[in-house]
């Protein structure tokens, strides 16, 4: 049983949503990073309780081995999440350069668009 993982996934998602709902770019960015981590943990928890199992590398010792597929998927997910994070960083910087604000609520408003 993975109660601690379940609780941790819940907390990660809660924190990330909480941060994403802010207006500050910094908080949104932190929320996004947390969301990536939350999703990765959620996926890896699908491989089941790891206690008493070995890493999915053959030829070392004996006994049950954990499911390798979620690990492969999460590996892909980590890298893609990283790519998206970098893109988001650049996007936020660009928006800051254009709109001169780090407040999402000031974007797209007609009165804020003084150019």
């Amino acid at each position: 049983m993975q109660i601690e993982t379940a609780l941790l996934v819940g907390l990660l998602f809660a924190v990330s949503v909480y941060l994403l709902l802010h207006k500050s770019f910094v908080r949104i960015l932190f929320g996004f990073v947390t969301l990536t981590n939350a999703t990765n943990l959620f996926l890896i928890s699908m491989s089941g309780d790891p206690d008493g199992k070995r890493a999915p590398i053959l030829g070392e010792g004996s006994g049950p081995i954990v499911d390798p597929l979620p690990q492969a998927l999460v590996l892909t997910a980590i890298v893609i999440g990283f790519g998206l994070t970098i893109y988001l960083i650049m996007l936020l910087y660009r928006i800051f350069l254009d709109a001169k604000t780090t407040d999402a609520s000031k974007l797209f408003l007609p009165e804020a668009d003084d150019e």
Binding site: E4, V15, V33, L41
Partner: protein, 816 residues
């Protein structure tokens, strides 16, 4: 290509099979040519339109003429009461083939389309002046013809739907031919929206029927019986939906409003599409599905109810209109109701002479539209109140019109009389007195406005303001031909016996042969007709006396106005909704998106909660100390991210959480993940640091203090809900893992197939190599996107502004 005879029975012997195959192949090619010939003629028309001018219409007429010739060959070779199915495989896996059904009904409609097509091209060549875009007009017309022919010959219901919608598209282009005029665009839009929307209902009906019966073939459906099919509810629903499609196309109540709007089209188009062919598709479809559905109780009530009510409504509206084409349009609506209602009355054994009704309407209504066009052409007016005395200037047209209105009113010696007598007889036989009364009332109204159409336009004295020029012979001939046909076939109906009996369709029409005669003896129908003519004449005189003062359509029947208002209201509503939801502003829409995400996830959990909670108490809830410790550390640093005030400390807390997560991956026996996570985490922290160092600290601080305080409780509730649901999902997934997971198979195959011991690596590079390729692509795209964001930055901003940096790392760091 392959095909087979259904009616002819199984061929005997190999030789016979071969012979039939050859015969069928040639028939298939011929039928394809019948349908494609109009389309094939389009390039020729386009090429010659500028050289020939209006005369290109005569050239265009060659295409339907050729189709008619080929069709005659098919009809002759198929014999009496034919039933041939021709199939060209298209998507056989889905049961979608180019399957065509050649039987009495499709041959009849095919001939109508071709014959009226020839006359309309002829008429249009004379009607359309030099200044019109002839190439566009005739190519749309030919495109429409091909779509119509395809529709009537389709055996596969899905194919029928495709052609059906193509006719709608073509009619949209033709109605909107004068696209500079507002009225024209509105009419075209109404027609398209109504017919396409009802067509979509029809598609749903078709799919339901296909799922319930297992076939889309009309022939096979007509042979089957409803009791064999899966579900009565599905059959009933598909019947209603198919009828909605038919009612929409044939402008039946409550869709009757689009047809008068479509009168903005040039008159040849009105004569072709909106009297003779396209609006007949609804009637055609009703006939096609009659053998499938007529045993339903609902059929009688729905088809008769809508049909005869529309007949009355159309006649009433025609009586209260003043525009020549509007009167004709409403009378078409009314007559279409009559034609469709006739299918409702059909007894269990079938319908009598429905093709005769259609033929009669095609002849007189086509002729009437053409005469209306001639009147419009010669006087520039279509308002009945301002016309009069035209008979002296155009006697031939007046003659055609006289026969046309006589047939419309159902006077003896015209086809209209015969077909109405037959339908009244059917109603008497069925003892359907309510429908009988509706038909009698609407026929009376029809007599009144038919009389007005003729007497107020062609007789009496010409108003002084009216200037008339005489029409040429060529333009008057097509309506005259149609009118003469209505007259001759009405006077000698016996001429039609052979044809009508030869094109009977099993399951649709009654088995016993028809014998038409002008005089069937003195009976209730004749008496009723006499009464109708007398009352209608009286009504005409009464209205004439009052000067047609009340000839205006009452507001509550202006469905077109309501429709337009609804359309406008829809766009206003969506604009307001978009503004209210602030779809351009993340702080407003993000909570909404998350809220609905939460609802859907929580719904999933709640629905399966019984399975989830069963045996929950029996679960071992012991916690692993190491896991709990790491989880606690992650949780603590996450709380730090939220609670800490300065972004530097927040970032430190965030990266602490990230590095502890690496440790958690180790606990999950995932060394590769742990390594990747460390690298990614480090790189991310560096990048975030670079970004945040560029933000002015004043803005960062301000954002923390003032604006974020608002709505904190709402955020806490929403994020708490998401966290709770995700926790439940993990527990749920843990309880119910798949009995046969694919992961162990990769483990087994890792060594023999991929020559690797690390299963995660072999999955990534061997078994699921394409996923990895996709991942690399995503990274590449993200990199290019990030580069693009930086490189396209506008130059020429103030130099001392920190926000003016042209790149991210590319210039020296400035002191603010």
């Amino acid at each position: 290509m392959c095909g087979y005879f259904l009616a002819a029975g199984p061929p005997t012997g190999a030789w016979a099979a071969d012979f039939r195959e050859i015969a069928m192949a040639s028939t298939t090619i011929t039928l394809s040519l019948v349908i494609l010939l109009p389309v094939l003629a389009v390039p020729l028309v386009l090429a010659l339109a500028s050289r020939l001018g209006p005369r290109v219409g005569y050239l265009t007429a060659a295409a339907p003429l050729g189709s008619a010739g080929l069709l005659a060959w098919i009809a002759a070779s198929a014999g009496s009461q034919p039933r041939v199915i021709l199939e060209i495989p298209w998507v056989p896996q889905l049961g979608v083939n180019l399957s065509f059904l050649v039987d009495g009904l499709s041959i009849f409609y095919g001939f109508v389309i071709c014959a009226i097509g020839v006359l309309v091209c002829w008429y249009a060549a004379e009607y359309l002046g030099r200044k019109y875009a002839h190439a566009r007009f005739y190519s749309c017309l030919l495109f429409f013809m091909a779509a119509m022919l395809g529709t009537v010959f389709s055996n596969n219901l899905l194919l029928l739907f495709v052609f059906w919608e193509l006719t709608g598209v073509a009619s949209f282009l033709l109605i909107g031919f004068f696209h500079e005029s507002d009225e024209s665009r509105r009419g075209a839009r109404q027609a398209l929206l109504v017919t396409a929307a009802t067509g979509l209902c029809m598609l749903v009906g078709i799919i339901l029927l296909g799922l319930a019966s297992g076939t889309y073939s009309l022939a096979r459906l007509a042979d089957g019986s409803l009791s064999d099919y899966k579900d009565v509810g599905w059959i009933t629903a598909s019947c209603v939906l198919l009828l909605v499609g038919a009612f929409g196309k044939s402008a039946q109540f409550p869709f009757q409003f689009w047809l008068p709007g479509a009168m903005a089209a040039p008159t040849p188009v009105s004569a072709y599409l909106h009297s003779a062919t396209m609006v007949k598709l609804g009637v055609f479809l009703t006939g096609r599905i009659f053998p499938i559905f007529h045993s339903l109780e609902l059929w009688f009530w729905l088809v008769c109810g809508v049909g005869f009510f529309t007949m009355l409504l159309g006649a009433f509206l025609a009586l209260r209109s003043n525009d020549l084409k509007a009167i004709l349009a409403y009378s078409t609506v009314s007559q279409l109701g009559f034609l469709i209602g006739a299918y409702g009355v059909g007894s269990k054994t079938g319908i009598q002479a429905d093709t005769l009704h259609v033929l009669s309407h095609v002849l007189y209504k086509g002729s009437l539209f053409m005469t209306a066009g001639i009147v419009d052409h010669c006087t520039g007016l279509r308002d009945v109140r301002r016309l009069g005395g035209l008979g002296r200037y155009m006697p031939v047209t007046a003659f055609s019109a006289a026969i046309g209105v006589a047939a419309l009113a159902g006077l003896p010696l015209t086809t209209g009389f015969i077909s109405k007598e037959l339908l009244l007889a059917d109603l008497v036989d069925a003892k359907a007195w309510v429908w009988f009364a509706l038909v009698v009332i609407s026929a009376t109204l029809t007599v009144a406005f038919a009389a007005r159409l003729f007497f107020n336009v062609f007789t009496g004295s010409k108003p002084d303001a009216l200037s008339v020029h005489r029409p040429g012979w060529a333009i008057q001939t097509p309506p005259l031909l149609l009118a003469m046909a209505a007259l001759i076939l009405g006077a000698f109906p016996g001429l039609l016996d052979g044809t009508l009996n030869a094109i009977k369709v099993a399951g649709l029409q009654e088995e016993e042969p028809i014998h038409l005669a002008l005089w069937h003896g003195f009976n209730l129908e004749v008496l009723t007709t006499a009464l109708i003519i007398l009352c209608g004449g009286g009504l005409y005189l009464l209205c004439q006396k009052s000067g047609w003062k009340r000839a205006e359509i009452p507001g509550f029947l202006r469905f077109d106005v309501a429709f337009e208002r609804g359309l406008d209201g829809l766009s206003v509503f969506s604009k307001k909704l978009t503004l209210a939801l602030r779809a351009d502003w993340p702080p407003a829409y993000l909570p909404i998106v998350i809220f609905f995400l939460l609802i859907s996830l929580a719904g999933t959990v709640a629905v399966s909660s019984t399975r989830f909670f069963e045996g929950f108490s029996a679960i071992d809830i012991s916690l692993s100390p190491l896991h709990t410790f790491v989880a606690f550390m992650i949780a603590a640093s996450l709380v730090g991210v939220i609670v800490l005030r300065r972004w530097t400390t927040q970032l430190i807390a965030l990266s602490v959480a990230g590095f502890f997560l690496t440790f958690y991956f180790v606990l999950y026996r995932a060394p590769d993940l742990a390594m990747t996570q460390i690298l990614v985490e480090s790189a991310s922290v560096v990048m975030i640091l670079l970004l945040l160092s560029r933000f002015p600290s004043s803005q960062l601080l301000r954002s923390e203090e003032k604006r974020e305080a608002k709505g904190r409780i709402f955020r806490v509730i929403l994020s708490g809900g998401v966290g709770l649901v995700m926790t439940c999902l993990v527990l749920f997934a843990d309880r119910h893992s798949h009995p046969d997971p694919i992961g162990p198979k990769y483990l087994e195959l890792s060594k023999p197939l991929a020559e690797g011991t690390n299963a995660v690596n072999t999955i990534l590079v061997d078994f699921r190599g394409f996923d990895t390729l996709g991942e690399i692509t995503v990274l590449l795209v993200a990199t290019l996107g990030a580069l693009g964001l930086m490189m396209r930055y506008k130059r020429g901003r103030a130099g001392n502004d920190p926000a003016s940096a042209p790149g991210f790392f590319l210039e020296k760091k400035r002191r603010p």
